[in-house]
Every structure is written in structure tokens, then in C-alpha cells.
């Protein structure tokens, strides 16, 4: 690449001492707990969100095993209700919303921009501790009696149930601010800390995606904050705004809640889109098709996402005008998303396609997201949604986008940047096996749910009428396969930290600035500050020898 970053000298004699990087430059506990380095913070986040993901996954497996039998196999109804609530709350608030921006975003964004760190490193550390605080409150809430309101904690049930709603509400409040501050940080960093020569249209698309996400994080999350606060206050001193016995309106709560939670699903998915943009380019060794369209579509999705929240409430008794507007705009937001999907496929088309583990997850994403996105269209039609709302069809739809798409994109990014973060490679064969297992298990879990949902199987049911049993049982088997795939992934990733081989200098042949810094990166990221003089996905600048030269 024509920057002034000197090419790595492949012929220099190996020195006796290991080069200092962000992992080994200091080793005390406080140098990690009080770190201001975005890479260390990203790593700590990675550990946190991974634990949350695994907990959420265990809750899910328990749910699915319980539902093997029509009258419920393991738990009382009340116990089941707490379990599915925990699964939803842990996954949504502790994993899907923070994971990609806070772990991979923190690790990679400044590197990709050619910056030394994010703009506000102390705020970044605060974001992390707010996440930890939220996780602490969530864990405490389990011990303090649990909560059984569903992750959406609709009123008035969430006001009347004698569970630990206030403490989980406060936990969510902290998590909300963690998200807000991360978004704030990324916006400022993108505006102010780009390397010289990096114009907006020379930024990698992961940055564009994180930027659009950050706008949503900053503008939408405060509404969640005030909503949880009001529910907590309502429980504590009975304001009366959500409690019908005191003159309040439960539907107002739904409006408040979904005004944040719809943009929230785009906070979850836009970073995943960003990762996929990077993956299809690097692993097909081809520039992105329709770069500007993909960039602008991220912004378009961010803006439109504020206007469609009512499609979660079509059966609540909205006015005809509201239903018209929300349905219309819901279909509209499908178009920028479709543009992205087609552009990614066009990027892969006639590239030099490497079928390595990140690319397997990426291809799985493209197939699964097609289904997830298209089933969202089905739900956008008013009359069809009346039938499908609150059934397993919706559950399958959002798992296709959240688990099958976002989580898979997260896995793709994790595998892609693993060698960059640690300088070592995991077992690629096991990785491929895990990817295929996860793909098969995932579809086996959720395809039956589409079917039984369209046949009327309602969601959040601890027991069900026996005619749905075959679908539930098929879904449970799928979940066990999916769980095994994830377990295998956790195993070989952790094992690689102890026994992994050294990675290549440029493992996958990337040309963005993150691959122009030593692996793992030094604390300051770049030994000499980069100056950008080329377009962003220019593979003619790639020295392919670096993809098969191991690190010293």
C-alpha cells in the first residue's frame, strides 16, 4: 500500500527478545483494570460478552429441553417464565447490543482509522465498567428472586409481579449508558482522529457501519434509560403513568419501549453488516461492489429505523393512520438492506474466494440473513402480522437475524481478527467443522419454529397443545446440535491461546490499515503514523507473501 508505513522486513534476523505489544508491555493487574488502551478494553469486553453469551445459551438450551414435552419437562411454569426472560435479557442487553461495537469495534476501529486510540479513552474505560455494573445487577437480580416479565417487561405485569424488576431495571440503565458512551466515543473518533489522507470515502465499511450504529446508540438509548427509570419509579412510588389502575396506559409503555428497541435491533445488526462487508472483500480478495451505496444504506437504515417502532404493536389497537405509516416505512427500510445483501453477493461473485473459517461464517450469514430479512417482510404486512404476531414465527424471524446473522457475523469477525489480536492461529479444521455444525444446528432449531408459528403456536408458552410436539422436539434436537457447535468453537479458540501456532504476518491478505501494523499491535498501534494515499480496498497493493510468512 502506498503509505509511509514501512513494509515489514521479512529478511531481518530474528531478535532474541519478543517484541513488545499491547498484550505483554505491562503485566500487572492494575495495568489491565485501569487501562486506557482500546485494545485491552476490547479484550476485556470480549471476555465479558462471551461469558454472557454462554450463559444466555445455557438458558436457551434449558428452555428448549423443557419444551420437549407438551406439559413441560423440567420446570414449573413460573420457573420457565423466568428462564426465557433471563435468556432474552442476557442475550439482548449483555451480548447482542454491546458485543460487536464494544469488543471487535474497540479493538479494530482505531487501527482501521490509523489512530493511536479512541478519542476519549477514559470514557471508554467507564463504558466497560458500566457494562460490568449492568452485568452485576443482572446477576444479583437472579439471586434476588429473578424476574419473569419477558425481556420486554410490558406493564402492568412488570409493575405487579413480585420479582426483582427494579434491580434488573437499574442494571439495564447502566448498560444503556455503557452503550451510549461507546457510541459517543466512536462518533468523535471517526470525525476527528482519521489518519491524514483518509477521506470519508476511503474509510473501511466497518467504520461506516459502526458510525451509523453510534448515531443510533446516542439518540435512541436515552429513551430506554428513561423508560426503565419510569418503570422503577412506578414500582417504587406509583407515578401511575403505566398502571391502568392509577389512570395510566400500558400501550404508552409499549410506545416508549419500542421507540428505543426498534433502533436497538439496528444497533445490533448494523455492526454485523459492517463485519460482513469487510469479510466478503478480504476473503474474495476483491473491492466492495457498490461501496458508496453500502455506506449510505447504513445511514438510511439508521434514520428510517426511528420511524417504524409501531410494527411491534400492530395488534395493540393503533389507529389506522399509525398502522399505515408504520407498515409502509417497515417495507421501505427493507430496500437499503436488500441493496447491501445484493452488493455483498456481487462482491463475492468472481472473486478469489478462500473457504476459510471466517468466510464459512460469512457465507452462512448471507444465506441465513436472506431468510431472516425476508421473513421480516412477511411480518411487515398488516393482515399477515395480525395472525403471526406473538407466535413462534416471530421468534424464528428474530433468531434468524440475531443469532443466525449477528452472532455468526460476530464469530466471523472473531475468527478473522483472532490472529491480529493474539498473533496466533486456532485449529482451522476444527473451526470449519464447528462452522458447519452451527449452520446445520441453527437451521434445524428454527425452521420448525417458522412452521409451527404460522400454524398458531404462541410464544412464551411453558406448555403447549400436543399437536405442536413434533416441531418442538425437532427444534430441541437442532438446539443441541447448535450448542455442540458453539461448545466446539469455544474449545478450540481457548485452546489456541495455549497451544496455537504462530499466525502469518498478514493472515488473510487484508489491505486496510489494521493489517499494516505489527501483529499483535504495539500499544501505540503504529510505529510511524500512517498517511493514506490509496483507495481503501485496493488489493493490487497486497504483498501476498505476507499471507504465508509466519510471525517471528
Amino acid at each position: 500500500m502506498s503509505t509511509n508505513v514501512p513494509a515489514v522486513d521479512l529478511h531481518a534476523a530474528p531478535t532474541g527478545e519478543r517484541p513488545k505489544n499491547y498484550l505483554n508491555c505491562t503485566t500487572s493487574f492494575m495495568s489491565w483494570a485501569g487501562t486506557l488502551d482500546h485494545k485491552r478494553i476490547g479484550l476485556m469486553y470480549l471476555v465479558g460478552v462471551s461469558i454472557a453469551f454462554l450463559c444466555g445459551g445455557v438458558f436457551a438450551l434449558l428452555v428448549r429441553i423443557h419444551l420437549w414435552e407438551p406439559h413441560g419437562m423440567l420446570f414449573s411454569n413460573s420457573g420457565y417464565n423466568q428462564l426465557f426472560t433471563l435468556h432474552g435479557a442476557f442475550m439482548v442487553f449483555l451480548f447482542v447490543i454491546p458485543a460487536i461495537p464494544a469488543s471487535l469495534g474497540n479493538m479494530v476501529l482505531p487501527l482501521m482509522l490509523g489512530a493511536k486510540d479512541v478519542a476519549l479513552p477514559r470514557l471508554n474505560l467507564l463504558s466497560f465498567y458500566l457494562w460490568v455494573g449492568g452485568a452485576a445487577f443482572a446477576t444479583y437480580s437472579i439471586a434476588a428472586g429473578g424476574f419473569d416479565t419477558g425481556w420486554t417487561f410490558y406493564t402492568p405485569y412488570s409493575l405487579y409481579t413480585n420479582k426483582a424488576v427494579v434491580s434488573i431495571g437499574l442494571g439495564i440503565f447502566l448498560l444503556g449508558f455503557s452503550s451510549i458512551f461507546t457510541g459517543l466515543n466512536f462518533i468523535v473518533t471517526t470525525h476527528k482522529l482519521r489518519a491524514p489522507g483518509m477521506t470519508w470515502f476511503r474509510m473501511p465499511l466497518f467504520i461506516w457501519a459502526l458510525y451509523a450504529t453510534a448515531i443510533l446508540q446516542v439518540l435512541a438509548t436515552p429513551v430506554l434509560g428513561i423508560t426503565v427509570l419510569l418503570v422503577a419509579f412506578e414500582r417504587l412510588y406509583h407515578i401511575g403513568i403505566f398502571d391502568p389502575r392509577l389512570g395510566g396506559d400500558p400501550v404508552l409503555f409499549e410506545h416508549f419501549f419500542w421507540f428505543y428497541s426498534h433502533p436497538a435491533v439496528y444497533i445490533m445488526v448494523l455492526p454485523a453488516f459492517g463485519i460482513i462487508s469487510e469479510m466478503v472483500s478480504v476473503h474474495s480478495r476483491k473491492p466492495l461492489f457498490g461501496y458508496k451505496l453500502i455506506a449510505f444504506s447504513s445511514l438510511a437504515i439508521a434514520v428510517i429505523s426511528f420511524l417504524v417502532w409501531g410494527h411491534h404493536m400492530f395488534t395493540s389497537g393503533q389507529s389506522t393512520y399509525a398502522m399505515f405509516a408504520f407498515s409502509f416505512l417497515t417495507f421501505f427500510v427493507a430496500i437499503p438492506t436488500a441493496i447491501k445483501q445484493f452488493s455483498w453477493v456481487a462482491t463475492v461473485w468472481k472473486g478469489s474466494i478462500a473457504l476459510n473459517s471466517p468466510m464459512l461464517y460469512t457465507l452462512a450469514f448471507l444465506i441465513i440473513f436472506a431468510i431472516g430479512g425476508l421473513t421480516g417482510i412477511i411480518l411487515g404486512a398488516l393482515n399477515v402480522d395480525i395472525h403471526l404476531h406473538d407466535t413462534y414465527f416471530v421468534v424464528a424471524h428474530f433468531h434468524y437475524v440475531m443469532m443466525g446473522s449477528i452472532a455468526l457475523a460476530f464469530f466471523a469477525g472473531l475468527h478473522h481478527w483472532w490472529p491480529k489480536m493474539f498473533g496466533i492461529m486456532y485449529n482451522e479444521t476444527l473451526a470449519k467443522i464447528a462452522a458447519v455444525t452451527i449452520f446445520i444446528g441453527f437451521n434445524a432449531t428454527f425452521v420448525p419454529q417458522f412452521i409451527m408459528g404460522s400454524q398458531g403456536m404462541p410464544r412464551r408458552y411453558a406448555t403447549y397443545v400436543p399437536e405442536y410436539a413434533p416441531y418442538h422436539q425437532a427444534s430441541t434436537i437442532g438446539a443441541i446440535i447448535l450448542g455442540s457447535g458453539v461448545a466446539l468453537m469455544v474449545f478450540y479458540l481457548l485452546a489456541s491461546l495455549f497451544t496455537g501456532k504462530k499466525a502469518m504476518v498478514n493472515q488473510w491478505g487484508g489491505v486496510t490499515l489494521d493489517w499494516h501494523t505489527p501483529t499483535p499491535p504495539p500499544l501505540e498501534n503504529f510505529e510511524t503514523p500512517p498517511v493514506v494515499t490509496h483507495e481503501v480496498y485496493d488489493y493490487s497493493t497486497l504483498d501476498v507473501e505476507t499471507t504465508r510468512t509466519p510471525l517471528r
Binding site: I187, L219, P222, I226, L230, L236, Y237, G247, F256
Partner: protein, 249 residues
Amino acid sequence: MSHDGHHAVVIPAPGPEFLPHTVAHHFDTPVQEFQSMKLGFWLFLATEILLFGGLFAAYFYYHEWYPETFKIGGQQLDWKLGAINTIVLLVSSWTMAMGVRAAQTSQKQKTLVFCGLTVLGAVIFLVIKFFEYKAKTEHGLFDFTQMFGAYDLATGQVPWFTDIHNVMVDHTGAPLPHGHLFFAIYVTMSGIHGLHVLIGAGLILWIMKGTAKGRFHAGYYLPVDLVGLYWHLVDLIWIFLFPLLYLVP
């Protein structure tokens, strides 16, 4: 520390009573640091506006549902005390702006004086608020000792809203629907706003401490500027709260 060839950028102190400012090492220039902090802070203020926006939305929604309750409820509030508080905050915004200006021109003493006056304004505001709430309790409207009790399922009576003298009635003397609702929203909105006044006062005190040490001057007055912005936001929110709660009814 790595050797990137850059030395730390330092803004020199304009005089012996001031301290130099070292630009954070991840920034290349002082301007970059200044602009980044400013942009970040404006984004944070946007989140505060959205947070309060939710409360305003709830207010408007129930104002539509229960117009009589809101009208009569608002009439129970003492608009004169509210007006005094408005003037206090407006004046304190002016003193804060003067304090920022003084910091920008390296006038240490003036900065301390104006910041001190702003804090005084905050204290007066909070004291008047305290007396407002106390008066409501004495008039039999509230009983804050019953704040967290359960409500009566049969009547929908909330324990802390006692309304001993039955003021929440319409022109025929019939009780207004959900009389406590206006006051619950009033207490929540003014309470959260009051919390922000308190936080603002704390931030200004921190600025005063830094000023006394000489950290802020023409070369580096950013924190004073940002705290000033926060204070103006707090004032701005009150400018909306006051007419809505006190004057419109």
C-alpha cells in the same frame, strides 16, 4: 511508552499563577483535542435532551387524557416561586457565561467569583424547591413519609398523595380522575431536573478547585467551557419545565 518520535504536546502557562497543559498523548494537536472533547460533549447533551424528552412526552400524553386534572393540578403549584427560580437560573447562566469568559482571558479571580455566584444560584434554586415541596406537605397535598407504600386497590389512592383539603375536584365538586397523576409527573420531572442542578453545582465546584490551582487559562479552558454548556442545558430544560408545569394551567 513507545518511541513514536513525537514528544508530548504542551500548552505553556500564560503566567506564574497558572499550570501548563499537556495534550493527551493520543491526540496530535491541541486543536484536535479541543474539537474532540467539544463534539463528544455536545453528543452527551443530546442524550440528556432525549432523556428529558421522554418525560415531556409522558406529560403531553396525559395532559391530553386528563386535561381537567392537569389544569387544576397546575393551579396548586406556586408560580411565583417557580418564576423566582426561573430568574435565578437565568442569572446563574449569565454568571456561568461570564465565568467561562474570565477563564478564556486567564482571569483567575474573576473566574472563581463568577463560578461561585453560579453555585450560589444553584443552591438558591434547590432551597426554593425544598420550600415548595415542604409547602405542599404542609398544605396537606403530599406526605412524603408515605412515599413507598402500596396503593389502595379499590380506590386507586396513592399513599403519598393525601390531598387532605380535597383540592383536586372539578367545578361541580366531583373528584377529578386520577388527581395524583399530575403531581406524580411534576415530582418526577422536577426531581430529576433538581438532581441535574445538584450535579451541575458539583461540577462547577470541581471547576473552581481546578481554577484555584491554575489549571484553566487562555491556552486551556475547555473543562470550564464544557461545564458551562452543561449548566446552560440545565437552565434550558427548566425554561421548558416551568411554563408547562406552572403557567399553562
